[in-house]
Protein backbone atom coordinates (compact mmCIF):
# COMPACT_ATOMS: atom_id res chain seq x y z
CA UNK A 1 0.00 0.00 0.00
CA UNK A 2 1.36 3.43 -0.90
CA UNK A 3 1.70 5.77 2.06
CA UNK A 4 1.11 9.48 2.01
CA UNK A 5 4.00 11.89 2.21
CA UNK A 6 6.01 11.08 5.25
CA UNK A 7 5.06 13.90 7.61
CA UNK A 8 8.28 13.46 9.52
CA UNK A 9 10.31 15.10 6.73
CA UNK A 10 10.57 18.45 8.41
CA UNK A 11 11.23 21.67 6.54
CA UNK A 12 14.49 22.04 8.43
CA UNK A 13 15.86 18.78 7.17
CA UNK A 14 14.71 19.57 3.63
CA UNK A 15 16.63 22.85 3.80
CA UNK A 16 19.63 20.99 5.10
CA UNK A 17 19.44 18.56 2.20
CA UNK A 18 19.35 21.46 -0.25
CA UNK A 19 22.24 23.24 1.46
CA UNK A 20 24.28 20.07 1.45
CA UNK A 21 23.60 19.44 -2.23
CA UNK A 22 24.39 22.98 -3.33
CA UNK A 23 27.60 23.17 -1.33
CA UNK A 24 28.65 19.83 -2.78
CA UNK A 25 27.95 21.23 -6.23
CA UNK A 26 30.04 24.32 -5.52
CA UNK A 27 32.86 22.02 -4.52
CA UNK A 28 32.54 19.82 -7.58
CA UNK A 29 32.47 22.89 -9.84
CA UNK A 30 35.14 24.79 -8.00
CA UNK A 31 36.60 26.10 -11.26
CA UNK A 32 33.39 28.01 -11.86
CA UNK A 33 33.04 28.94 -8.24
CA UNK A 34 36.39 30.70 -8.29
CA UNK A 35 35.19 32.99 -11.06
CA UNK A 36 33.93 35.92 -8.93
CA UNK A 37 37.15 35.83 -6.95
CA UNK A 38 39.24 35.94 -10.10
CA UNK A 39 37.13 38.71 -11.51
CA UNK A 40 37.48 40.87 -8.41
CA UNK A 41 41.24 40.30 -8.32
CA UNK A 42 41.44 41.15 -11.99
CA UNK A 43 39.52 44.40 -11.73
CA UNK A 44 41.48 45.52 -8.72
CA UNK A 45 44.86 44.71 -10.22
CA UNK A 46 44.00 46.41 -13.50
CA UNK A 47 43.60 49.77 -11.83
CA UNK A 48 47.19 50.28 -10.71
CA UNK A 49 48.27 49.28 -14.18
CA UNK A 50 45.93 51.80 -15.75
CA UNK A 51 46.57 54.64 -13.34
CA UNK A 52 50.25 54.17 -12.81
CA UNK A 53 51.79 53.28 -9.47
CA UNK A 54 50.96 56.40 -7.51
CA UNK A 55 50.44 55.15 -3.96
CA UNK A 56 48.41 58.08 -2.61
CA UNK A 57 46.03 58.20 -5.56
CA UNK A 58 45.49 54.45 -5.35
CA UNK A 59 44.90 54.61 -1.61
CA UNK A 60 42.34 57.32 -2.11
CA UNK A 61 40.22 55.45 -4.60
CA UNK A 62 40.80 52.02 -3.06
CA UNK A 63 37.48 51.71 -1.21
CA UNK A 64 35.50 52.67 -4.28
CA UNK A 65 37.43 50.37 -6.58
CA UNK A 66 37.10 47.42 -4.22
CA UNK A 67 33.38 48.00 -3.75
CA UNK A 68 32.78 48.28 -7.48
CA UNK A 69 34.82 45.15 -8.11
CA UNK A 70 32.85 43.19 -5.53
CA UNK A 71 29.55 44.50 -6.84
CA UNK A 72 30.36 43.64 -10.45
CA UNK A 73 31.65 40.19 -9.59
CA UNK A 74 28.44 39.48 -7.70
CA UNK A 75 26.35 40.82 -10.56
CA UNK A 76 28.09 38.60 -13.08
CA UNK A 77 27.68 35.50 -10.96
CA UNK A 78 23.99 36.17 -10.29
CA UNK A 79 22.97 34.77 -13.64
CA UNK A 80 24.05 31.30 -12.58
CA UNK A 81 21.88 31.28 -9.47
CA UNK A 82 18.94 29.43 -11.04
CA UNK A 83 20.38 28.78 -14.50
CA UNK A 84 21.62 25.24 -14.03
CA UNK A 85 18.62 24.27 -11.89
CA UNK A 86 16.33 25.48 -14.64
CA UNK A 87 18.25 23.75 -17.38
CA UNK A 88 18.28 20.33 -15.80
CA UNK A 89 14.78 20.45 -14.35
CA UNK A 90 15.65 20.60 -10.66
CA UNK A 91 14.01 23.98 -10.33
CA UNK A 92 10.70 22.30 -11.21
CA UNK A 93 11.40 19.67 -8.60
CA UNK A 94 12.05 22.36 -5.99
CA UNK A 95 8.81 24.11 -6.87
CA UNK A 96 6.90 20.85 -6.57
CA UNK A 97 8.45 19.84 -3.26
CA UNK A 98 6.14 19.86 -0.21
CA UNK A 99 8.15 22.69 1.37
CA UNK A 100 7.79 26.49 1.42
CA UNK A 101 9.55 27.72 -1.72
CA UNK A 102 10.72 30.92 -0.02
CA UNK A 103 12.80 28.92 2.45
CA UNK A 104 14.35 26.85 -0.31
CA UNK A 105 15.18 30.05 -2.18
CA UNK A 106 16.74 31.47 0.97
CA UNK A 107 19.00 28.42 1.14
CA UNK A 108 20.09 28.97 -2.44
CA UNK A 109 20.88 32.62 -1.74
CA UNK A 110 22.92 31.61 1.27
CA UNK A 111 25.00 29.23 -0.83
CA UNK A 112 25.40 31.85 -3.53
CA UNK A 113 26.69 34.32 -0.99
CA UNK A 114 28.99 31.77 0.61
CA UNK A 115 30.40 30.79 -2.75
CA UNK A 116 30.67 34.14 -4.47
CA UNK A 117 31.12 36.79 -1.81
CA UNK A 118 32.87 35.08 1.09
CA UNK A 119 36.01 34.14 -0.87
CA UNK A 120 36.24 37.76 -2.00
CA UNK A 121 35.77 38.95 1.58
CA UNK A 122 38.65 36.74 2.62
CA UNK A 123 41.06 38.28 0.13
CA UNK A 124 40.02 41.85 0.83
CA UNK A 125 43.30 42.41 2.72
CA UNK A 126 45.19 41.38 -0.40
CA UNK A 127 43.09 43.65 -2.59
CA UNK A 128 43.64 46.46 -0.11
CA UNK A 129 47.39 45.86 -0.22
CA UNK A 130 47.39 46.02 -4.03
CA UNK A 131 45.76 49.41 -3.77
CA UNK A 132 47.82 50.62 -0.86
CA UNK A 133 44.78 51.19 1.32
CA UNK A 134 45.46 52.59 4.77
CA UNK A 135 45.46 49.58 7.11
CA UNK A 136 43.25 51.36 9.63
CA UNK A 137 40.43 51.53 7.11
CA UNK A 138 40.45 47.79 6.56
CA UNK A 139 37.97 46.99 9.40
CA UNK A 140 35.42 49.53 8.14
CA UNK A 141 35.77 48.31 4.58
CA UNK A 142 35.37 44.78 5.76
CA UNK A 143 32.31 45.49 7.86
CA UNK A 144 30.65 47.42 5.06
CA UNK A 145 31.25 44.55 2.67
CA UNK A 146 30.10 42.00 5.22
CA UNK A 147 26.79 43.81 5.51
CA UNK A 148 26.56 44.86 1.89
CA UNK A 149 27.32 41.67 -0.02
CA UNK A 150 24.47 39.56 1.41
CA UNK A 151 22.18 42.49 0.75
CA UNK A 152 23.31 42.54 -2.87
CA UNK A 153 22.82 38.78 -3.17
CA UNK A 154 19.31 38.98 -1.73
CA UNK A 155 18.19 41.90 -3.86
CA UNK A 156 19.78 40.36 -6.92
CA UNK A 157 17.93 37.10 -6.36
CA UNK A 158 14.58 38.78 -6.79
CA UNK A 159 15.69 40.22 -10.10
CA UNK A 160 17.13 36.91 -11.27
CA UNK A 161 13.92 35.15 -10.35
CA UNK A 162 12.01 37.58 -12.53
CA UNK A 163 14.22 36.91 -15.54
CA UNK A 164 14.54 33.17 -14.99
CA UNK A 165 12.77 32.10 -18.15
CA UNK A 166 14.87 34.18 -20.52
CA UNK A 167 17.67 32.70 -22.52
CA UNK A 168 20.03 35.62 -22.74
CA UNK A 169 19.16 37.74 -19.82
CA UNK A 170 22.63 39.12 -19.06
CA UNK A 171 22.02 42.68 -20.06
CA UNK A 172 18.46 42.87 -18.83
CA UNK A 173 19.60 41.51 -15.50
CA UNK A 174 22.21 44.23 -15.17
CA UNK A 175 19.70 46.89 -16.12
CA UNK A 176 17.15 45.72 -13.61
CA UNK A 177 19.58 45.07 -10.78
CA UNK A 178 21.59 48.25 -11.09
CA UNK A 179 19.03 50.72 -9.71
CA UNK A 180 18.57 48.45 -6.71
CA UNK A 181 22.30 48.12 -6.18
CA UNK A 182 23.09 51.82 -6.28
CA UNK A 183 21.93 52.70 -2.75
CA UNK A 184 23.90 49.79 -1.30
CA UNK A 185 26.98 50.98 -3.11
CA UNK A 186 26.52 54.57 -1.99
CA UNK A 187 26.17 53.68 1.67
CA UNK A 188 28.77 50.91 1.61
CA UNK A 189 31.55 52.70 -0.17
CA UNK A 190 30.42 55.97 1.41
CA UNK A 191 31.02 54.63 4.91
CA UNK A 192 34.64 53.83 4.06
CA UNK A 193 35.23 57.14 2.29
CA UNK A 194 33.80 58.94 5.32
CA UNK A 195 36.03 56.98 7.68
CA UNK A 196 39.02 57.89 5.49
CA UNK A 197 38.25 61.57 6.00
CA UNK A 198 37.72 61.10 9.71
CA UNK A 199 33.98 61.64 9.46
CA UNK A 200 31.42 59.50 11.33
CA UNK A 201 30.48 56.40 9.41
CA UNK A 202 28.51 54.26 11.87
CA UNK A 203 25.20 55.65 10.59
CA UNK A 204 25.74 54.28 7.10
CA UNK A 205 26.66 50.86 8.49
CA UNK A 206 23.54 50.83 10.70
CA UNK A 207 21.45 51.63 7.68
CA UNK A 208 23.02 48.80 5.73
CA UNK A 209 22.38 46.47 8.65
CA UNK A 210 18.73 47.47 8.89
CA UNK A 211 18.28 47.01 5.15
CA UNK A 212 19.90 43.60 5.42
CA UNK A 213 17.48 42.46 8.14
CA UNK A 214 14.56 43.62 6.06
CA UNK A 215 15.90 41.93 2.95
CA UNK A 216 16.52 38.63 4.74
CA UNK A 217 12.83 38.50 5.57
CA UNK A 218 11.30 39.92 2.41
CA UNK A 219 13.60 39.03 -0.47
CA UNK A 220 13.09 35.24 -0.38
CA UNK A 221 9.32 35.72 -0.30
CA UNK A 222 9.50 38.14 -3.21
CA UNK A 223 11.84 35.86 -5.13
CA UNK A 224 9.58 32.83 -4.60
CA UNK A 225 6.59 34.77 -5.91
CA UNK A 226 8.64 36.02 -8.85
CA UNK A 227 9.69 32.47 -9.66
CA UNK A 228 6.09 31.24 -9.74
CA UNK A 229 5.19 34.09 -12.07
CA UNK A 230 8.16 33.85 -14.39
CA UNK A 231 8.60 30.08 -14.60
CA UNK A 232 8.39 29.32 -18.33
Amino acid sequence: MVRHADASISTASACLALLRRDLLLVWRRRGDAAQPLMFALLVVSLFPLALGPEPELLAKIAPGVIWVAVLLSGLLSLDSLFRSDLDDGSLEQLMLAPQPLALLVACKVLVHWLASAVPVLLIVPLLAAFLNLDGRLLPVLWESLLLGTPLLSLVGTVVVALTVGMRRSGMLLALLALPLYVPVLIFGAGAVMAAAQGLPFAGALWLLGAALVLAVVLAPLAAATALRIAMP
Binding site: M1, D6, I9, A14, D88, L96
Partner: protein, 208 residues
Protein backbone atom coordinates in the same frame (compact mmCIF):
# COMPACT_ATOMS: atom_id res chain seq x y z
CA UNK B 1 -10.39 0.91 -1.16
CA UNK B 2 -13.92 2.03 -0.46
CA UNK B 3 -15.84 2.51 -3.69
CA UNK B 4 -16.86 6.05 -2.76
CA UNK B 5 -13.27 7.28 -2.36
CA UNK B 6 -12.80 10.44 -4.47
CA UNK B 7 -10.24 10.17 -7.32
CA UNK B 8 -6.66 11.17 -6.49
CA UNK B 9 -6.71 13.82 -9.17
CA UNK B 10 -9.61 15.19 -11.17
CA UNK B 11 -10.04 18.13 -13.52
CA UNK B 12 -13.22 19.70 -14.77
CA UNK B 13 -13.38 21.54 -18.16
CA UNK B 14 -9.70 22.39 -17.94
CA UNK B 15 -8.20 24.59 -20.66
CA UNK B 16 -4.96 26.43 -21.24
CA UNK B 17 -4.23 29.30 -23.58
CA UNK B 18 -0.92 30.88 -24.51
CA UNK B 19 -1.27 34.37 -25.88
CA UNK B 20 -4.99 33.74 -26.27
CA UNK B 21 -4.18 30.75 -28.50
CA UNK B 22 -5.73 27.61 -27.07
CA UNK B 23 -3.04 24.98 -26.41
CA UNK B 24 -5.47 22.33 -25.23
CA UNK B 25 -9.21 22.66 -25.26
CA UNK B 26 -11.56 22.31 -22.29
CA UNK B 27 -11.24 18.72 -21.14
CA UNK B 28 -12.13 16.71 -18.06
CA UNK B 29 -10.18 13.84 -16.59
CA UNK B 30 -9.79 11.89 -13.38
CA UNK B 31 -7.36 9.31 -12.07
CA UNK B 32 -8.19 7.11 -9.08
CA UNK B 33 -5.86 4.98 -7.01
CA UNK B 34 -5.17 1.69 -8.79
CA UNK B 35 -5.47 2.90 -12.35
CA UNK B 36 -3.46 4.55 -15.11
CA UNK B 37 -4.55 7.29 -17.46
CA UNK B 38 -2.75 7.38 -20.82
CA UNK B 39 -2.62 10.67 -22.67
CA UNK B 40 -2.03 10.27 -26.40
CA UNK B 41 -1.34 12.99 -28.93
CA UNK B 42 1.07 14.02 -31.68
CA UNK B 43 4.00 16.42 -31.48
CA UNK B 44 2.91 19.80 -30.19
CA UNK B 45 -0.58 18.68 -29.21
CA UNK B 46 -0.11 20.00 -25.66
CA UNK B 47 0.66 16.89 -23.57
CA UNK B 48 3.55 18.42 -21.71
CA UNK B 49 1.60 21.58 -21.12
CA UNK B 50 -1.32 19.60 -19.65
CA UNK B 51 0.98 17.83 -17.23
CA UNK B 52 2.53 21.11 -16.13
CA UNK B 53 -0.89 22.63 -15.54
CA UNK B 54 -1.94 19.61 -13.48
CA UNK B 55 1.26 19.85 -11.43
CA UNK B 56 0.56 23.49 -10.70
CA UNK B 57 3.57 24.82 -12.59
CA UNK B 58 1.29 26.73 -14.95
CA UNK B 59 -2.03 28.33 -13.97
CA UNK B 60 -4.99 26.94 -15.98
CA UNK B 61 -6.86 29.47 -18.08
CA UNK B 62 -10.17 27.84 -17.27
CA UNK B 63 -11.52 25.00 -15.17
CA UNK B 64 -10.78 23.51 -11.82
CA UNK B 65 -8.38 20.88 -10.50
CA UNK B 66 -9.23 18.71 -7.48
CA UNK B 67 -7.00 16.54 -5.33
CA UNK B 68 -8.80 13.79 -3.40
CA UNK B 69 -12.05 15.67 -3.93
CA UNK B 70 -10.77 18.98 -2.53
CA UNK B 71 -9.84 22.06 -4.56
CA UNK B 72 -6.13 21.62 -5.30
CA UNK B 73 -3.70 23.69 -3.26
CA UNK B 74 0.04 23.85 -3.72
CA UNK B 75 0.55 21.64 -0.66
CA UNK B 76 -1.99 18.99 -1.58
CA UNK B 77 -0.53 18.69 -5.10
CA UNK B 78 3.01 18.52 -3.73
CA UNK B 79 2.01 15.76 -1.30
CA UNK B 80 0.17 13.72 -3.93
CA UNK B 81 2.04 14.07 -7.22
CA UNK B 82 5.56 13.31 -8.37
CA UNK B 83 6.65 14.49 -11.82
CA UNK B 84 8.96 12.76 -14.27
CA UNK B 85 9.34 15.39 -16.96
CA UNK B 86 11.33 15.80 -20.16
CA UNK B 87 14.01 17.23 -17.88
CA UNK B 88 14.91 14.79 -15.19
CA UNK B 89 16.38 17.16 -12.60
CA UNK B 90 19.63 15.33 -11.99
CA UNK B 91 22.82 17.19 -11.28
CA UNK B 92 25.50 15.92 -13.63
CA UNK B 93 28.23 16.51 -11.09
CA UNK B 94 26.61 14.44 -8.35
CA UNK B 95 26.65 10.68 -8.28
CA UNK B 96 23.52 8.59 -8.71
CA UNK B 97 23.26 7.98 -4.97
CA UNK B 98 23.86 11.63 -4.09
CA UNK B 99 21.12 12.68 -6.48
CA UNK B 100 18.64 10.26 -4.96
CA UNK B 101 19.64 11.14 -1.43
CA UNK B 102 18.85 14.78 -2.15
CA UNK B 103 15.45 13.93 -3.64
CA UNK B 104 14.63 11.93 -0.54
CA UNK B 105 15.85 14.69 1.74
CA UNK B 106 13.62 17.18 0.01
CA UNK B 107 10.45 15.12 -0.40
CA UNK B 108 10.63 12.37 2.19
CA UNK B 109 11.05 8.67 1.52
CA UNK B 110 8.51 5.95 0.79
CA UNK B 111 8.37 3.47 3.63
CA UNK B 112 10.31 0.28 3.20
CA UNK B 113 12.43 1.52 0.28
CA UNK B 114 16.17 1.71 0.15
CA UNK B 115 18.33 3.66 -2.28
CA UNK B 116 20.69 0.80 -3.17
CA UNK B 117 17.84 -1.65 -3.66
CA UNK B 118 15.91 0.74 -5.87
CA UNK B 119 18.99 1.35 -8.00
CA UNK B 120 19.22 -2.39 -8.46
CA UNK B 121 15.55 -2.58 -9.44
CA UNK B 122 16.03 -0.10 -12.27
CA UNK B 123 19.16 -1.83 -13.46
CA UNK B 124 21.72 0.66 -12.24
CA UNK B 125 23.54 -1.61 -9.82
CA UNK B 126 27.22 -0.81 -10.14
CA UNK B 127 26.57 2.81 -11.11
CA UNK B 128 25.98 4.05 -7.55
CA UNK B 129 29.03 6.28 -7.59
CA UNK B 130 29.07 7.36 -11.23
CA UNK B 131 28.40 11.06 -11.77
CA UNK B 132 25.03 11.43 -13.50
CA UNK B 133 26.79 13.24 -16.35
CA UNK B 134 28.54 10.03 -17.34
CA UNK B 135 25.36 7.99 -17.59
CA UNK B 136 23.96 7.39 -21.06
CA UNK B 137 20.58 8.88 -21.95
CA UNK B 138 18.79 5.64 -21.16
CA UNK B 139 20.55 5.26 -17.84
CA UNK B 140 19.58 8.79 -16.88
CA UNK B 141 15.96 7.94 -17.52
CA UNK B 142 16.33 4.93 -15.25
CA UNK B 143 17.71 7.14 -12.52
CA UNK B 144 14.58 9.27 -12.87
CA UNK B 145 12.47 6.16 -12.38
CA UNK B 146 14.44 5.31 -9.26
CA UNK B 147 13.54 8.72 -7.90
CA UNK B 148 9.84 8.07 -8.43
CA UNK B 149 10.16 4.74 -6.66
CA UNK B 150 11.72 6.39 -3.62
CA UNK B 151 9.27 9.27 -3.17
CA UNK B 152 6.12 8.81 -1.09
CA UNK B 153 3.76 10.39 -3.65
CA UNK B 154 0.96 8.04 -4.78
CA UNK B 155 0.33 9.69 -8.18
CA UNK B 156 3.01 9.68 -10.85
CA UNK B 157 2.88 12.25 -13.64
CA UNK B 158 5.08 10.77 -16.36
CA UNK B 159 5.92 12.75 -19.49
CA UNK B 160 6.96 10.36 -22.28
CA UNK B 161 8.70 7.88 -20.00
CA UNK B 162 9.50 5.68 -22.99
CA UNK B 163 11.64 8.19 -24.89
CA UNK B 164 15.37 7.37 -25.07
CA UNK B 165 14.86 3.84 -23.83
CA UNK B 166 15.65 0.63 -25.67
CA UNK B 167 13.19 -2.29 -25.72
CA UNK B 168 14.46 -3.63 -22.44
CA UNK B 169 14.01 -0.19 -20.88
CA UNK B 170 10.43 0.09 -22.10
CA UNK B 171 9.66 -3.24 -20.44
CA UNK B 172 11.23 -1.90 -17.25
CA UNK B 173 8.98 1.18 -17.21
CA UNK B 174 5.94 -1.05 -17.66
CA UNK B 175 7.04 -3.38 -14.90
CA UNK B 176 7.63 -0.50 -12.48
CA UNK B 177 4.34 1.24 -13.29
CA UNK B 178 2.43 -2.02 -12.90
CA UNK B 179 3.92 -2.68 -9.50
CA UNK B 180 3.12 0.87 -8.41
CA UNK B 181 -0.48 0.65 -9.54
CA UNK B 182 -1.04 -2.81 -8.13
CA UNK B 183 0.26 -1.41 -4.84
CA UNK B 184 -2.54 1.15 -4.85
CA UNK B 185 -0.78 3.98 -6.63
CA UNK B 186 -1.83 5.71 -9.82
CA UNK B 187 -0.14 7.12 -12.90
CA UNK B 188 -0.80 9.63 -15.63
CA UNK B 189 1.34 8.81 -18.67
CA UNK B 190 1.78 10.77 -21.88
CA UNK B 191 3.16 9.22 -25.04
CA UNK B 192 3.09 9.42 -28.82
CA UNK B 193 1.19 6.20 -28.70
CA UNK B 194 3.89 4.29 -30.51
CA UNK B 195 4.91 2.08 -27.60
CA UNK B 196 3.42 -0.78 -25.65
CA UNK B 197 1.76 0.33 -22.43
CA UNK B 198 1.52 -1.46 -19.12
CA UNK B 199 -1.00 -4.21 -18.56
CA UNK B 200 -3.04 -2.47 -15.88
CA UNK B 201 -6.48 -0.97 -15.60
CA UNK B 202 -6.07 2.06 -17.84
CA UNK B 203 -8.03 4.58 -19.84
CA UNK B 204 -6.87 6.70 -22.78
CA UNK B 205 -7.34 10.43 -23.31
CA UNK B 206 -6.76 11.62 -26.86
CA UNK B 207 -5.41 15.15 -27.33
CA UNK B 208 -5.21 16.94 -30.67
Amino acid sequence: MTPAAPPLLAAESLAFQRNEEPVFGPLSLHVAAGEALLIHGGNGSGKTTLLRVLAGLLPPSEGDIQVRGQHATRESVAQTCALLGHLLGHKGELTAVENLRFAVGLNGQREGTDITEVLETVGLAGYEDSPARQLSAGQKKRLGLARLLLLPSPLWLMDEPYANLDLEGIALVNRVVEAHINGGGAALITSHGAYATPAVRSRVLELD
